[in-house]
């Protein structure tokens, strides 16, 4: 088996390591863990102008593919960080999934049936590729100081700062931070240091996850089987990645012995039966028992938890890495404003409110998927059998089959949102993320709403649908004007349709691209009130 260790980084001694006692260096933000979440968060913070210290206990990008499905929302976030194009160019674009029962196909679904979005529903990309591109981007940003083989071994919270003790090959040193963000994964050591519990549900069934290398003519679709002929009584998943790598998930019996099941000589025959041939090599094999759990509080004093450190889900639904990236985009602008004192510290509390709500939703969805795959009782198994057999003949049966409900952004029930006071027939409601739409720039060049949002500064932005007169908007707010003399044109009418727009309609977008408020005919005063609420001045 070829072990993946794609990129090796060197440890370098830093002058901070010679500063002792009260002379310890101080940073506004220290991010712990240079995985996809920590790297993305650091880039977002740095692009907002904050210096960031990013620590990782390893000195290389991890083995295996791990996360492979990155959602449209994650790609739009990565576009804002300047890495979306690279991810999509390398990734395998897909939107179609097929569900099989036994040897026959039950149905197929399309996750993005409509045109006019810059980014696809999903790409598949090995996590190590994503991390490598993010590290490249980090290295373009002098505001980020990324230190490998810097392991946090001590954490002390004081009134207005955190003192971290960091172990290195040259011995320990200390730094001080106004805020620490723990992106150190499911086995987070910072979580243990703050003494937080990580409670939830462990699923009994084991799943074997293998990445195999082969050239094959399967289409770039997500194929999911219940009770396939090659793996009787259990479920299986096949999904394509770049570089001729295929992800295979096989559900195993709860009593299977991990050490034995994991041996390539035992995995090989199973996969050969699935593929119908033996012309493949293993890249990575792992055996999991899935867990769904989360921290009770994502914020412990000045230590904030994001990604798997804060919440863990089973992988069916691609809700792990994608929800971690949503944490990062949610937190970055809030931390930036609090550190600049343009918002009160209370704004951070909305990170916990919004993202713990999203974690509950992700846990609920992925628990339901995992339960459907591994029914917990005989009656649950009978009901599933009824669904699978009804699916052959009925539309409702097809819709009830749960082979993973794929990640979509949560709609926040948020203290930052201003409730609708006008009548709406559609469009994203306050707390929802902004849908993309094709536009043409005033000069005629084709673009997308998500690109216009980046050009407007990735800050609080007013999306206006022109009625001839410009809205009197609050200071410091960016603008995207559609229609009118100098605005973007919406010749396909999709922006207008997706936002239920009429002349005069305006959406106040947050710096993470979520809707804070919307109005049919806003005045400066209602916009200022909505803006103050969205910025945490409540």
């Amino acid at each position: 088996m070829v072990q993946q260790s794609k990129t090796q980084f060197g440890y370098r001694r830093h002058p901070d390591q010679d500063r002792i006692g009260a002379d310890a260096a101080q940073y506004p933000v220290v991010v712990v863990g240079a995985g996809p979440v920590g790297l993305s968060l650091a880039i977002d913070l740095a692009q907002r102008g904050l210096p960031v210290l990013l620590l990782d206990d390893a000195d290389r990008i991890g083995e295996g593919s791990r996360a492979i499905c990155f959602s449209k929302r994650s790609l739009e976030f990565w576009d804002r960080l300047g890495v979306g194009g690279r991810m999509v160019d390398k990734g395998v674009v897909w939107s179609v999934g097929k569900i099989f029962h036994g040897a026959s196909q039950l149905f197929q679904f399309d996750l993005l049936p409509e045109q006019g979005h810059k980014r696809p529903a999903f790409i598949n990309l090995q996590q190590f590729h994503a991390e490598a591109y993010l590290v490249d981007r980090v290295q373009e940003l002098p505001a980020i100081d990324l230190r490998w083989r810097n392991k946090v071994i001590g954490l002390e919270q004081r009134h207005d700062l955190v003192v971290l003790t960091i172990e290195t090959p040259d011995g320990p040193y200390r730094i001080r931070a106004a805020y620490v963000v723990a992106c150190d994964g499911a086995r987070s050591s910072l979580r243990q240091m703050v003494g937080a519990e990580f409670a939830g549900k462990v699923f009994e069934d084991q799943f074997l996850i293998a990445d195999v290398k082969m050239t094959a003519e399967f289409p770039t679709e997500r194929w999911f089987w219940f009770d396939p002929p090659f793996h009787a009584g259990r479920s299986a998943l096949l999904h394509k990645q770049p570089d001729d790598i295929w992800r295979i998930d096989l559900q195993l019996h709860p009593d299977a012995d991990p050490a034995i099941e994991k041996l390539p000589e035992n995995v090989r025959p199973r996969i050969a039966r699935m593929l119908g041939h033996e012309k493949f090599e293993f890249e990575w094999i792992s055996l999991y028992k899935f867990q769904c759990r989360r921290m009770d509080r994502f914020i412990h004093g000045r230590v904030i938890f994001a990604g798997d450190a804060a919440h863990q889900v089973s992988p069916f639904g691609a809700r792990g890495a994608n929800s971690g990236l949503e944490d990062a985009e949610n937190l970055a602008w809030k931390l930036d404003r609090v550190l600049r004192k343009t918002s009160p510290e209370a704004l951070l509390e909305s990170y916990h409110a919004e993202r713990s709500g999203a974690a509950d939703e992700n846990i609920r969805e992925s628990t339901r998927s995992t339960d459907f795959m591994a029914p917990g009782s005989r009656q649950e198994a009978r009901l599933r059998k009824a669904v699978l057999s009804l699916a052959k003949e009925t539309e409702f049966g097809k819709r009830m089959i749960n082979g993973g409900r794929l990640s979509v952004p949560s709609i926040y029930d948020s203290p930052l949102s201003t409730a609708d006071c006008d009548a709406w027939r559609g469009g994203p409601r306050p707390g929802a993320s902004m849908p993309d739409a094709p536009l043409a720039a005033p000069a005629g060049d084709p673009t997308f709403l998500t690109e216009a949002f980046i050009k407007a500064g990735t800050r609080f932005t007013l999306l206006e649908f022109g009625n001839g007169g410009a809205v009197d908007r609050p200071d410091g707010v960016g603008v995207i004007r559609i229609g009118g003399n100098d605005g973007f044109s919406d010749s396909a009418g999709l922006a207008g349709a997706r936002y239920d727009a009429e002349p005069g309609t305006a959406y106040l977008l947050r710096p993470d691209g979520y809707v804070a408020a919307r109005f049919r005919h806003p005045t400066r005063s209602v916009l200022e009130t909505a803006l103050a609420r969205a910025a945490g001045h409540n």
């Binding site: 009824a386 009804l390 009830m400």
Partner: protein
């Protein structure tokens, strides 16, 4: 209360017989499978989660009553 518990069939006996006869000739295991499918089909036809939840609560009250009776007998 969204769940209708007044009598909705002109001939309730016909409805009861239809369900009983659906099970004729089936083994216990097949009967349980039939009920599972029937419940899902009817639930989808109702298409209202509140009604479904009320129906489930009403059905489950029988289990509670039965277990209380059992305890009293002991």
């Amino acid at each position: 209360m969204a769940l209708s518990t007044s009598s909705n069939f002109a001939k309730p006996d016909d409805a009861f017989r239809a369900v009983v006869e659906a099970h004729r000739g089936l083994s216990d295991a097949q009967s349980v499978d039939l009920d599972a499918a029937l419940v899902l089909i009817l639930a989808n036809h109702i298409g209202d989660l509140d009604v479904l939840r009320e129906a489930i609560a009403l059905a489950r009250r029988r289990m509670v009553d039965a277990s209380q009776q059992q305890q009293q007998q002991q």
